[in-house]
């Protein structure tokens, strides 16, 4: 174990809540473009742990996505 490998340095970007940063207070279910950023390929709701959204904004976001799904603005699933 004498070999010393140069440690790879990872720059992990600090995740910030998009809604806090952009000062979006009311998350509109009609704003498909905005919601689409939080539904990856399989159309699942992107978890907070990955998107960095704060709890205060994830809750209305989730509600908005579900409303938009009901109105067929965004899909429930894609296969």
């Amino acid at each position: 174990m004498t070999m010393t490998r140069p440690r790879k340095v990872f720059f992990r970007r600090r995740k910030v809540c998009k809604f806090c940063a952009d000062k979006i207070d009311y998350i509109d279910y009609k704003d498909v473009k905005l919601l689409q950023q939080f539904i990856p390929e399989r159309s699942k709701i992107l978890p907070r742990r990955i998107s960095g959204t704060c709890a205060t904004h994830q809750r209305p976001l989730q509600q908005a996505i579900k409303r938009a799904r009901h109105l067929a603005l965004i899909p429930f699933t894609t296969d």
């Binding site: 790879k8 990872f10 992990r12 970007r13 995740k15 998009k18 940063a21 952009d22 000062k23 979006i24 207070d25 009311y26 509109d28 279910y29 009609k30 704003d31 473009k33 905005l34 950023q37 939080f38 990856p40 992107l46 990955i50 998107s51 960095g52 209305p60 409303r67 799904r69 009901h70 109105l71 067929a72 603005l73 965004i74 899909p75 429930f76």
Partner: protein, 137 residues
């Protein structure tokens, strides 16, 4: 004062004139129930994200409703929509509470308000979803 949003999707096979009469009918019901229609938007034909009743398109109609005393005929309107086969989907949302909450949050935020805004998120960086590559020892 309460505000509501009512969106419904009409069967695309229904002609535009019939859609207008349909809207008229619902608007009459709403105003008869003691509320006002603040906005009316006809989004027209839109592709559905998934088929509803084997249809891939729908005609969207949006109504903004305000009620001064909190009394509305929305339950009746919803009931009628449920029974109408031409209505594929409908959704009523009460918005005043959420908007009020959003307005309260705004002044407390630091920095100038009104950067960004809704719908301008296209140019933003995509969310970073590959977190880490496994680093072996």
């Amino acid at each position: 004062m309460r505000t509501y949003e009512l969106i419904f999707i009409v069967d695309p096979r229904v002609s535009d004139e019939d859609v207008v009469t349909l809207i008229q009918e619902y608007k009459q019901m709403i105003s008869a129930g003691g509320s006002e229609i603040s906005t009316e938007e006809n989004w027209g034909r839109r592709k559905l994200a998934y088929p509803i009743e084997k249809l891939t398109e729908g005609k969207y109609v949006f109504l903004g409703i305000t009620s001064q005393n909190g009394k509305t005929s929305l339950p009746e309107v919803e009931h009628r929509m449920r029974q109408n086969d031409k209505i594929l989907r409908y959704l009523t949302v009460r918005t005043d509470e959420d908007l009020k909450r959003a307005a309260r949050r705004k002044p407390s935020g630091r920095g100038p308000a009104g950067t960004g805004g809704a719908g301008t998120g296209v140019m933003d960086e995509p969310v970073d979803d590959d977190l880490d590559t496994g680093d072996e020892v």
